[in-house]
Symmetry: C2
Subunit: 241 residues, 2 copies
Amino acid sequence: VLNPLIQKLERFVPLSEADKLALTNATANTKTVNAHIDLIREGDRPSAVRVIMEGFAYRYKLLPNGGRQIVAYIVPGDICNAHVFILKRMDHAIATLSPCKIAELSGRDVLRITSEHPTITQALWWSTLVDEAVSREWITNIGRRSATVRIAHLLCEIYVRLSTVGLVENGKFELPITQIELADTVSITNIHANRVLNTLRRLNLIAMRGKYVKIIDLDALKVMADFSAHYLHLNGLLFTE
Amino acid sequence: VLNPLIQKLERFVPLSEADKLALTNATANTKTVNAHIDLIREGDRPSAVRVIMEGFAYRYKLLPNGGRQIVAYIVPGDICNAHVFILKRMDHAIATLSPCKIAELSGRDVLRITSEHPTITQALWWSTLVDEAVSREWITNIGRRSATVRIAHLLCEIYVRLSTVGLVENGKFELPITQIELADTVSITNIHANRVLNTLRRLNLIAMRGKYVKIIDLDALKVMADFSAHYLHLNGLLFTE
DNA sequence: CGTAACGTTGAGCACGGTCAAGGTCCGTGG
DNA sequence: CCACGGACCTTGACCGTGCTCAACGTTACG
């Protein structure tokens, strides 16, 4: 299994062998965390940079009325809190969706890598900026599209992001989220999420059972979702379109 | 009138005289752009970094059905496209709301400043990360709050952000947006935006006429908006709370 | 002083929320 | 191996926030 962080960063720029070695070493030690555990809570002052090497997690915010908004998914290769040295406190929480293997880089590690490997530094910048672009797309998705289209769009995005780290096979991938979590992502109720999924299934666009999603007709799903991968800034390596 | 970029960055970290001088020089030459002009379009490959020194602009995305989602406001001191050297193409457009004075920094300028002034580099990082945090809050705002609360929250945010660059006086500030633009920001129709504004006026929370907004009861507005300025990461300089 | 953009108001409707009930799956312990 | 229980999924009936369509009022500006 390839290192997902390396796989992801190479979507932006090819890394030298020295770059890859540095990243491999820095992420060699992982700790395992169970599913449904808070990795970081809102208001925390994290001290290490965490990278998800295996498993899924999500960023979320809680509201006083008990509501929850999931504001991002974190998939293998993604960095939880690149900003450790800049922002003092977390403005959101992060929790695992499935059991995760997590690498922790100390401040020292990060400083050494970024000072000795300018290409990696650039690639980390790229990663941060892509995260921001994804947030903007989510605003648009939640703000302007119907529930059905929102979910279709989200599935397209996850499909593409997992593809870049080699986690899709024959249109099928693991996605360990419940309908409740899906609903909290696209800002609908779980009941409506259920009905929407049934619609997408009846249209023969997707199959979804337990933790697994299969995209049956990606082209049709993209069309109905108004999806274009531009905002993921993959540099044309994967999806030319 | 103080340089808004310096004012803003000093919310994060104090700048030396040399830092300030560099920023002052870099932003000394401005060009004026009329209201309602696209500064950058989706798909463009911008070559210079633009900073808004005076006036208001916004980031937006267009949808195939003719809809528009405004995904961010750009106020004096904000940077339009800090990512010029990383991302190749714009995934959204930027347009002016009012006549703007805009400073353009060439790649050479930016490289020189960031290499010679590490404090500024840090502050630019901070600025990028705050933009991302704002996006996450907008997702939450649009996804989980009622139309009335959304607008109240947006007004609180703009109030705070304009405060940091000295553009609020006695709770009153310029905000040159139409109800249509407000609606496209919080993802409702302009008709409903109109009704919501009337509600907020009737509750004696705000006064809004033409391009000017006055927050009559900030504390009450914050409470109804579920607003906390934490996500703006102002480092406790302005709003301790 | 005309006209176009913006703001306001009303009536009816629909997407998605709420409430309620039952079904299915799966891990745990007897 | 089965019985229990809890989390998740599914379905139905009803309801409400906010959308649509339409008309009219107001403001700003050439």
